[in-house]
C-alpha cells in the first residue's frame, strides 16, 4: 500500500523541511558525481539551462560570458567575497536580481567543473508532439465501435448463408441431374425462410425467446449504465499529466489537492499552486513549453520578464468525477477520518497521463465498500468511544468473522448521511 497519504497533518511543511535537509545533506555528500546531479540539486531552483531567467540568469553559454573558469569557482564558492573584492564582472552580475545567490562553499572545484561540463554539453530536448508522447507513455487501445463489429458479423453470416444456399441448390441440382430428376424449382429467399420456420417451429420459438431475452437484458444493462461514467476521460484544457507529477516526481496528492483533509472537496489547485514549481520549470519532458505556457497564460506570468504582468485567466478544467448534486460526499470524512487511500476511489492516478474515472461512483459501489470497510482509526478516536463500545457489545456474540464493525453498522449507509 502506498503510504504517502498517511503522512501527518503538517506534511507539506514536513516535506519542505525534508527537502531542505536533504539539500544540505546532499551538499556534504557530493564528491565525484556527475554534473547533472549536482546541478539539479543545487542550481536548478534558480537557474535554467536555457537562456530564460528564473531567479538567476539562464546558464546557456555562461562559460563564454564569464571572465574565466576560475572566476566561476570563486563566484560559486563565495560570491559575497568576490563582490566585496570589487571585481568588475561580479559587481555587474550581482545586480541581476535583488536576491543574492547563496555561497556553495561545499562544492569542490571538481564538482563545479562537472557542472560546467554538464551545462556545456546540455542540449535542449526537441519537444515531442503531445499526442505521440501520450501514446508512447500510456498506449491507449483504440476502442472499436461494437456496432461496426455487429454489422460485420451479420454481413459475414448473410454472405455465408447465401453461399451455402447457392451451394446446396447447385449440389441438389447436380444430384437431381444424376438421378435424372427435374431441377428443383427456384424458391424465393423469403418463401424458403417461411418454409424453414414452418418446418422447425420449436427451434424458431427458442431462437425468438433467446433473442428477446438477450435484447431485454442488454437493454436493462444499458439503462443501468445511464449516468454511470466509468472510464470517463475528457480532454482537459491543459495536457496535465498526473503520471509526471504524482508518479515520476512523486508529489504528494495533497500538495495540490489540499482540501482533501480539510474540506468536503479535495479541490483543484489554484494556478498559484502550479506556479510554486512552474515559476522555475518552464519546460516539460513531454510537451516542452507549450502546455506550461498555458499555466503562465492563466496566471498572467511573463516568463521572459519573470513577473506577473498580464491579466489572469482562470483555467476551465473539466470535472472528471461527477456526483449528482443530491449527494454530499466529504473528502475529509474519508481521507482524514476514514484514512482511505486516494487510490481507493480514484485508481492508480500515478500512471494516468490524463485523469480518468476508474470507479463507477454509483450508490451500490459506495454501499458495497461501506459494508466491507472498518473505520481504521475508530478504536483510537475518542469520538467513537461510546459507539465502538456499544457496537462491540452488540455484535460480541456473533461468529468471529461477523464481529467487524463496518461502516454500515455505524450507520454509514443511512440515507441522510449523504442525502440532505
Amino acid at each position: 500500500m502506498d503510504t504517502i497519504y498517511k503522512q501527518p497533518k503538517k506534511q507539506i511543511l514536513a516535506k519542505f523541511s525534508l527537502l531542505i535537509l536533504s539539500f544540505f545533506l546532499s551538499i556534504n555528500s557530493v564528491s565525484a558525481q556527475d554534473g547533472e546531479k549536482i546541478f539539479k540539486q543545487n542550481c536548478a531552483v534558480c537557474h535554467s539551462l536555457g537562456s530564460n531567467p528564473i531567479v538567476g540568469p539562464g546558464l546557456q553559454g555562461v562559460i563564454s560570458r564569464v571572465p574565466s573558469e576560475d572566476w566561476m569557482f570563486k563566484w560559486i564558492q563565495n560570491n559575497e567575497a568576490l563582490i566585496k573584492s570589487g571585481e568588475a564582472y561580479a559587481v555587474k552580475v550581482s545586480t541581476f536580481s535583488p536576491a543574492a545567490m547563496p555561497s556553495f562553499t561545499s562544492l569542490a572545484d571538481g564538482d563545479i567543473k562537472a557542472v560546467i561540463k554538464y551545462i556545456k554539453e546540455y542540449k535542449e530536448p526537441a519537444p515531442v508532439a503531445a499526442t505521440a508522447a501520450s501514446g508512447a507513455t500510456a498506449p491507449v487501445e483504440k476502442p472499436t465501435n461494437p456496432l461496426a463489429i455487429l454489422i460485420g458479423v451479420l454481413a459475414f453470416l448473410i454472405i455465408i448463408v447465401a453461399i451455402l444456399r447457392a451451394v446446396r441448390y447447385s449440389l441438389k441440382n447436380i444430384q437431381n441431374a444424376k438421378k435424372g430428376l427435374q431441377n428443383e424449382a427456384k424458391v424465393g429467399v423469403w418463401k424458403e425462410f417461411k418454409n424453414t420456420v414452418n418446418a422447425h417451429k420449436r427451434t424458431t420459438a427458442l431462437v425468438i425467446i433467446f433473442l428477446l431475452g438477450g435484447g431485454l437484458s442488454s437493454g436493462w444493462y444499458a439503462l443501468k449504465g445511464i449516468g454511470v461514467y466509468e472510464g470517463y476521460q475528457p480532454t482537459q484544457p491543459i495536457a496535465f499529466s498526473h503520471k509526471i507529477h504524482a508518479g515520476d516526481n512523486a508529489i504528494d496528492c495533497q500538495y495540490c489537492h489540499s482540501g482533501a483533509e480539510r474540506s468536503k472537496t479535495a479541490g483543484i489547485p489554484s494556478v498559484n499552486v502550479c506556479m510554486n514549481c512552474h515559476k522555475g520549470i518552464s519546460k516539460g519532458p513531454v510537451t516542452g513549453k507549450t502546455e506550461i505556457a498555458k499555466i503562465y497564460e492563466a496566471a498572467g506570468w511573463d516568463p521572459d520578464k519573470g513577473a506577473y504582468t498580464k491579466p489572469q485567466k482562470p483555467i476551465q478544467w473539466i470535472k472528471v468525477h461527477n456526483l449528482p448534486d443530491f449527494v454530499f460526499f466529504s473528502h475529509q470524512q474519508h481521507v482524514k477520518v476514514g484514512q482511505q487511500d486516494c487510490a481507493t476511489c480514484h485508481g492508480d492516478v500515478k500512471t494516468m497521463t490524463t485523469a480518468v474515472q476508474v470507479k463507477p461512483l454509483t450508490m451500490v459501489w459506495c454501499i458495497d465498500c461501506h459494508r466491507a470497510t472498518e473505520v481504521p482509526g475508530m478504536q483510537s478516536n475518542p469520538f467513537y468511544e461510546k459507539l465502538h463500545k456499544n457496537l462491540t457489545e452488540k455484535f460480541k456474540n456473533m461468529p468471529y468473522d461477523q464481529r467487524k464493525i463496518t461502516v454500515d453498522r455505524m450507520g454509514g449507509i443511512e440515507c441522510s448521511k449523504c442525502h440532505y
Binding site: L223, I226, W317, I318, K386, S416
Partner: protein, 1102 residues
C-alpha cells in the same frame, strides 16, 4: 374534563361546517391538473390521446438518449486562492446589523466568499446572541437585483467621476453663497459616520444634519429632557423587573431594542421546580401585539385611554407608596390598574413601567411612576442611554417647513425614505421638490430616490466597513463579508455613503482608515485591556462587539482623558468580564433623583382632555416587515404575522363583535372574502381588507405600517404592490408623531378581496397539543397542566407513553433530541426565517399560500384560549350551557395566546415511514426521520399520515417555473444566498425539517477530525441559534451530561411532554408546559374543538 378551550382561529372556534370539511382535506383545493399542461387547457386542447402517447414515447426516448451523453461539468479553480478560503468550508465574520431601527451584533457565515447566513453574536452584551426575523432575512436583501449598480443623475446612469465633479462643484458654489445644505438621515449610531458628517459640514459650513426616524421615539426623549435634562432614551433591564407594566409598548417585537429586551425578559421567565418564580407582566394595549400575546394579563384599552391608564396607574401607585395624586377620570379597567399598582408597589426598584406612546405627556407620567417606584438606576438606566433611536420629530417638521419655503438648496437623504414614511399632513414630497439639488444615498430607486436628481447608491451593510455605538460604552464593528457585488468593470459600482461624503469633503483616505482613526483617538483610550492599538482593533474586529469603560457622556465626542476615569474599572470584552452592574457602581442614585419638578397635574389635565373617538386607529409595525425598509424581501413578506398569521398583506384589524355589528364579512376561512373598507383619516383614504382580530379593543382598529411600498423593488412588479401605505395616517400632535388617530371614518365598499393567512393550515383537528398552567398551580404541582395521557388496557389503566406496539430501536451512537420551552417562546418568527435561509426553503407567493401550500418547514402555531373554565363557572354559579358560551365570548374579546413552534417531530415510530411505497423516508440510528428527495416519487401518503402535519409538498418547480418569479432562486443574484450544503428541491417531492442534518454532520465531522468526543452545544440547529429567547434546546440524549438530557431529566416529572403522546409515535421533539403568572386556575384538562362540536350539538338539541 374539558375545562379550557384552545382554538387557532375564529373558524375553528365556531366550528363551521365548511371549516370541518376543509380541515378533513389534506390539501385545500383539488389537485391543479391544468397547471401541469402549462399553457393549454386540457378540454380545449387539440392534442388527443394518440398524439400524447407519441410525444410521450418520443420525449422518453429523447430524454434517455440525452441522458447517455456525459454532461460536461467545468471546475474552475481560483487563479490565486485567498489564503483564508478553503472551498467547501465556511468562514465566519463578526459584523453588525443596524438599519436605523434594529440593532444586532451578528456573525456572518460565508461560503466561497458569499454571505449565506446571519447568526447572533454571543459576545455582544447588547443583543447577547439574539436576532430577529428582519436581521435573519437581511442576507437576502444583499442579493436584491433591484439594487442600483451605479450612480444616476436625473434618472440616467452616470459615472462616479462625473457625479463627484458635478455635485462637488455645485456644493462648493452653494456653500460659497451661503445656501442651506441639509443632510436628512435616520438615526446614526456610528461615531465615525458622525465624524464624517462633521468633516463634510466643516468643508460646507452651511450644512445641518437632521435625524428623522420613520417610527420615532421623539416624545420619549423629549420627556426625559424635561424630567432629567437629558434628551436621551434610557437602557432598560427587563431581567431585573419582577413586575412589568407596558402601556402599548410592543417591546418584544418593535419597541427600541426588541432583541435585547426579549433576551432580558425571558431570563426572568424561565421556570423550573427549583426556581418557580417569574416576572408578572401587565399589558394595556389596543391591538393584540406580540408582547400583549405574551403578557400574563392583557387589558384591551382604546388608543385615547392609554394616557389615562398611565395617569390612573400613577394615582394608584401614589396611593400605596404615598404621593400626591393627579386629576383623573374613571376607567373600566381601574380594578386591574389597582392590581397592577399593588404588584408594582410591592416590587419597588424591581419593577418597570413603560409606554409605547410617542406622546411626551404620557411619557412624563410614566417617568413619574418609575420615579415613585425607585426604578431609576435599577431597571431603568438613564446614565447609560440607548442611542439607536435619535429621531427628532420637531427638527424634521421644521426642515419640511424650511424646504417648503424654498430656503433649502441641497438635501442629502441617507438611509431614510421620507417620501414614503412621512405623514400626509406634512406634504413632504411637495416640499422636497422645492429643493434645488436633491441627492439620495438609497441603494435602489425608492420613493425618495425617485424624486432626487442624483442617486449615489450606498453599499449593503454586508459589503461595508462601519462602527456602531448602540448604547453608551458598547461599541461594535461591521466588516465587509463580500466584495461589493456591483463593481467595475461590469458595473460602475456602488460606493459607501460615508466614502462619498468624504470624497465630497475632499478627503480621499477611505472610510476604513477614517474609522480606524476615530477608534484610535476615541475608543482606544476608553479601554485598558490592550496596550497597542492594532491589538485592540484586531480583537474588536474579531469579537464584533466590545464594551468599554464609560466616558463622561458616553458619546464619542468626549474621549476619556481624565486619568481617574482611565484607572476606573474597565470592562473588557472577554467572557470573564465583570458584570455590568459592578461597573455601574459609580452611578449615584441621588444624581438620578434630581428630577426637575414638573407639574404633572397639568400634564394629567392635558391627558384627560383627550377626547375619545367612536373608532380609533392604532398604527403598528409587524414583526416581519417592520418599518418597511425590507419590503422587497420575499422571506419577510411570506413570514406569517405571529398574531393574525396573515402573509403578503396589511389589513385592518377589528374586534369580531364590532365587525359582526357592522355587517362585515367574518370570513369563514381566513383566506376568503374579506370586506374591503375605505379608511379615512384627515382626508387621506386608503382601501384595505378588514379581518376579525380577537383581543382588539372595541372601538379601535389596527393597521400595520411598512406596506404599500410602490418603489421597493422588483418584488412589487412580480406580485403587485403588497398592502397599502399607512404612514400618511401618522398625525403630528404637539410636535411629535402620533402613530394612531382618534377620529377615523370607515366606509364599507361592499367589495371583497382574498388575503392569505396560514392560521388554520395544517390543523391538528383540535387535538390537544398545547399544555398550559399558571404559576400558582405550578408551585403546588410541577406537573400541573401536564397530566399524563392514560389508556385502558387489558392489564389496567396505563400511561399512554408506556404502551408500545413496536420494539425500541437501537441508538448506539448519538440520539438527537429537541425540547421547546413554550414558556420561553414569544412567537417572534426569527426561527422560521432562519430555517428558510438555512434550508433553502422556497417562497411560494400569496396565491399558493392561500391554497395552504406554504413551504416553511417550521411553523409557529398560535392558539387562543379563554379564561372561563369549570371552576370559575362553579364559583360564579354559571350553568353548563352558559359556561360554554362564556368560554367563547369574553375570550373572543380578549383571548389568551399561546405560541407553539411545530416542525417535524422525528417520531421514533414514525407513521410517515410505514406508508412510503418507495422508502423515501425512513429512520436513522441517530433518531432522525430522514427524507430522501431523490427517491421520493410524490405519492404524498406520508403527509396524509403525519399527525403533526409538518410535511410540505413541492407542487411546482419553484426554482424555475416563471409563475414563481418572486422566488429568490429564480434570480442570478438571489441564487447566491442558497446554502450549498442543502439540496434545492424540485417539483413533485415531499420535504420537511431535517433537524439541520447538515449541521449535525458537520459538527460530528469536526469532532472526529479533532479526535475528541462531541461537545454538547457544538451543534446548534438554525432555529435554535436564531432564537432570541433560547426557547429551543437541542442535543444528544445519549450524552448524560448534555443540557437537553439534564433538562429532560429535571422536567420529566414536571413540564416535559410529547405532543400526541397517546398515538404511540414516540416523538423526538418534546415541549415544556407554558406557565402563565396569572390567577385564573387552569386545570389539568384542556379542551378540544372536537369536543366543542358536541357542545354545539347539545345546544342545537336544547
Amino acid at each position: 374534563m374539558a375545562t379550557k378551550k384552545y382554538w387557532k382561529g375564529l373558524e375553528e372556534l365556531n366550528n363551521s361546517s365548511e371549516f370541518v370539511q376543509n380541515a378533513q382535506n389534506e390539501f385545500a383545493e383539488q389537485i391543479p391538473v391544468e397547471n401541469f399542461s402549462e399553457t393549454e387547457n386540457l378540454e380545449t386542447s387539440g392534442t388527443n390521446r394518440r398524439d400524447f402517447l407519441k410525444f410521450l414515447g418520443f420525449s422518453v426516448t429523447a430524454a434517455s438518449l440525452a441522458a447517455c451523453e456525459t454532461p460536461v461539468n467545468k471546475a474552475i479553480p481560483y487563479v490565486v486562492k485567498p489564503e483564508e478560503i478553503i472551498p467547501g468550508v465556511a468562514n465566519w465574520y463578526a459584523s453588525t446589523y443596524y438599519d436605523g431601527n434594529d440593532y444586532a451584533s451578528i456573525i456572518v457565515k460565508t461560503r466561497e466568499g458569499r454571505p449565506i447566513k446571519i447568526e447572533g453574536n454571543d459576545l455582544s452584551k447588547v443583543t447577547m446572541g439574539g436576532t430577529n426575523a428582519r436581521v435573519q432575512a437581511s442576507v437576502l436583501s444583499l442579493y436584491d437585483s433591484s439594487r442600483l449598480t451605479g450612480p444616476t443623475a436625473n434618472g440616467a446612469a452616470t459615472s462616479w467621476g462625473n457625479t463627484d465633479l458635478e455635485i462637488g462643484g455645485k456644493l462648493a458654489a452653494i456653500a460659497a453663497k451661503g445656501g442651506a445644505i441639509r443632510i436628512l438621515s435616520s438615526s446614526i449610531i456610528s461615531p465615525s459616520t458622525k465624524d464624517v458628517i462633521a468633516e463634510f459640514s466643516a468643508k460646507y459650513p452651511t450644512t445641518k444634519h437632521v435625524t428623522y426616524d420613520a417610527v420615532s421615539f421623539s416624545g420619549m426623549s423629549k420627556a426625559n429632557a424635561q424630567t432629567f435634562g437629558q434628551e436621551v432614551i434610557p437602557s432598560y433591564n427587563f431581567s431585573n423587573a419582577e413586575v412589568i407594566v407596558s402601556i402599548g409598548a410592543d417591546f418584544l417585537a418593535n419597541w427600541i431594542s426588541p432583541i435585547e429586551f426579549s433576551k432580558q425578559y425571558i431570563k426572568n421567565r424561565k421556570v423550573s421546580k427549583e426556581h418557580a418564580e417569574m416576572s408578572k407582566h401587565f399589558q394595556f394595549e389596543s391591538n393584540l401585539s406580540l408582547t400583549g400575546a405574551n403578557a400574563d394579563e392583557r387589558i384591551p384599552v382604546k388608543v385615547s385611554e392609554q394616557g389615562k391608564v398611565a395617569v390612573n396607574l400613577y394615582n394608584a401607585v401614589a396611593k400605596i407608596v404615598g404621593g400626591s395624586s393627579l386629576p383623573s377620570s374613571a376607567l373600566a379597567c381601574d380594578a386591574i390598574i389597582a392590581k397592577a399598582a399593588k404588584a408594582l408597589a410591592e416590587n419597588k426598584g424591581r419593577s418597570l413601567v413603560i409606554s409605547g406612546s410617542n406622546d411626551t405627556n404620557i411619557q412624563l407620567v410614566v417617568n413619574g411612576i418609575n420615579d415613585m417606584l425607585e426604578n431609576y438606576g435599577k431597571t431603568i438606566d438613564i446614565e447609560n442611554p440607548t442611542y439607536t433611536h435619535q429621531g427628532d420629530d420637531a427638527a424634521f417638521t421644521d426642515l419640511v417647513a424650511e424646504m417648503a419655503s424654498g430656503k433649502v438648496d441641497v438635501i442629502i437623504t441617507y438611509n431614510t425614505n421620507p417620501v414614503y414614511t412621512s405623514p400626509a399632513s406634512l406634504k413632504f414630497a411637495e416640499a422636497f421638490q422645492k429643493v434645488g439639488m436633491r441627492i439620495s444615498f438609497a441603494d435602489r430607486v425608492d420613493e425618495t430616490a425617485a424624486l432626487s436628481q442624483y442617486v449615489c447608491p450606498d453599499l449593503n451593510y454586508l459589503e461595508s466597513w462601519n462602527d456602531y455605538n448602540p448604547k453608551k460604552a458598547h461599541y461594535s464593528l461591521a466588516q465587509p463579508t463580500i466584495t461589493p457585488l456591483f463593481t467595475k468593470p461590469r458595473h460602475e459600482g456602488t460606493r459607501q455613503a460615508q466614502d462619498t461624503l468624504l470624497i465630497w469633503a475632499g478627503n480621499h483616505d477611505g472610510y476604513l482608515s477614517f474609522i480606524q482613526k476615530t477608534w484610535m483617538e476615541k475608543v482606544f483610550p476608553m479601554q485598558g485591556k490592550y496596550m497597542v492599538f492594532s491589538d485592540f482593533w484586531n480583537h474588536s474586529l474579531h469579537d464584533g462587539a466590545i464594551e468599554v469603560g464609560k466616558g463622561d457622556d458616553g458619546a464619542l465626542a468626549t474621549p476619556v482623558s481624565d486619568s481617574t476615569k482611565v484607572a476606573a474599572p474597565v470592562v473588557v470584552s472577554s467572557a470573564k468580564a465583570k458584570p455590568v452592574k459592578e461597573v455601574k457602581s459609580d452611578i449615584t442614585p441621588e444624581l438620578i433623583r434630581v428630577i426637575q419638578k414638573i407639574n404633572l397635574s397639568d400634564v394629567a389635565q392635558k391627558i384627560n382632555s383627550v377626547k375619545s373617538g367612536e373608532l380609533e386607529l392604532a398604527l403598528y409595525e409587524k414583526v416581519a416587515i417592520g418599518n418597511g425598509n425590507q419590503a422587497n424581501n420575499p422571506w419577510l413578506q411570506e413570514l406569517p404575522d405571529p398574531i393574525s398569521k396573515i402573509t403578503w398583506d396589511n389589513y385592518v384589524t377589528m374586534s369580531p363583535k364590532e365587525m359582526a355589528a357592522k355587517g362585515y364579512s367574518l370570513m369563514k376561512r381566513q383566506d376568503r372574502k374579506a370586506t374591503l373598507l375605505n379608511v379615512t383619516v384627515n382626508g387621506t383614504t386608503i382601501k384595505l381588507p378588514v379581518i376579525p382580530q380577537p383581543g382588539q379593543a372595541e372601538g379601535t382598529m389596527g393597521i400595520a405600517l411598512g406596506y404599500g411600498r410602490e418603489k421597493a423593488g422588483t418584488l412589487s412588479e412580480k406580485t403587485g404592490v403588497v398592502g397599502k401605505n399607512a404612514y400618511p395616517f401618522v398625525q403630528i400632535i404637539d410636535g411629535t408623531m402620533m402613530y394612531g388617530a382618534l377620529s377615523v371614518t370607515v366606509e364599507n365598499t361592499n367589495e371583497t378581496t382574498s388575503i392569505a393567512g396560514t392560521q388554520i393550515h395544517h390543523t391538528l383537528m383540535g387535538r390537544e397539543i398545547v399544555r398550559e398552567t399558571n404559576l400558582e398551580n405550578y408551585k403546588k404541582n410541577p406537573k400541573s397542566g401536564n397530566a399524563d395521557e392514560m389508556m385502558v388496557t387489558h392489564s389496567g389503566i396505563k400511561k399512554a407513553a408506556t404502551i408500545d406496539l413496536w420494539n425500541e430501536f437501537d441508538r448506539p451512537g448519538n440520539k438527537w433530541g429537541m425540547t421547546i420551552d413554550l414558556n420561553s417562546c414569544i412567537g417572534c418568527g426569527s426561527c422560521v426565517v432562519s430555517c428558510t435561509a438555512e434550508n433553502n426553503v422556497a417562497v411560494v407567493g400569496k396565491a399558493e399560500v392561500m391554497k395552504t401550500r406554504e413551504m416553511h418547514w417550521l411553523r409557529i402555531d398560535r392558539y387562543y384560549s379563554s379564561d372561563m373554565n369549570k371552576e370559575v363557572a362553579k364559583e360564579d354559579g354559571v350553568g353548563g350551557m352558559e359556561m360554554y358560551l362564556e368560554m367563547e365570548n369574553p375570550a373572543e374579546e380578549n383571548p389568551k395566546v399561546v405560541f407553539q413552534p411545530i416542525m417535524c417531530q422525528h417520531c421514533n415510530h414514525a407513521p410517515c415511514e410505514n406508508v412510503c411505497p418507495v422508502l423515501a423516508t425512513n429512520h436513522s440510528s441517530e433518531g432522525l426521520n430522514m427524507m430522501i428527495y431523490n427517491r421520493c416519487v410524490g405519492t404524498r401518503y406520508c403527509a396524509n399520515n403525519c399527525p403533526f402535519k409538518v410535511r410540505r409538498f413541492n407542487w411546482f418547480n419553484y426554482n424555475e417555473n416563471p409563475d414563481f418569479a418572486l422566488n429568490p432562486t429564480q434570480d442570478d443574484l438571489g441564487r447566491m444566498v442558497l446554502n450549498p450544503d442543502v439540496v434545492v428541491r424540485s417539483r413533485g417531492v415531499m420535504e420537511k425539517c431535517s433537524m439541520c442534518v447538515q449541521r449535525i454532520q458537520e459538527g460530528k465531522l469536526d469532532a472526529k477530525k479533532l479526535e475528541a468526543p462531541l461537545k454538547d452545544g457544538a451543534i446548534k440547529t438554525a432555529c435554535q441559534q436564531s432564537c432570541p429567547t433560547n426557547a429551543i434546546y437541542f442535543g444528544d440524549l445519549n450524552d448524560e451530561q448534555s443540557e437537553i438530557t439534564l433538562l429532560r431529566n429535571r422536567e420529566a416529572e414536571g413540564r416535559n411532554y410529547f405532543i400526541l403522546e397517546e398515538l404511540g409515535v414516540k416523538p423526538t421533539v418534546s415541549y415544556l408546559t407554558k406557565v402563565r403568572n396569572c390567577e385564573e386556575t387552569i386545570e389539568e384538562g384542556k379542551k378540544s374543538s372536537g369536543e366543542h362540536a358536541d357542545v354545539k350539538e347539545e345546544k342545537a338539541k336544547a
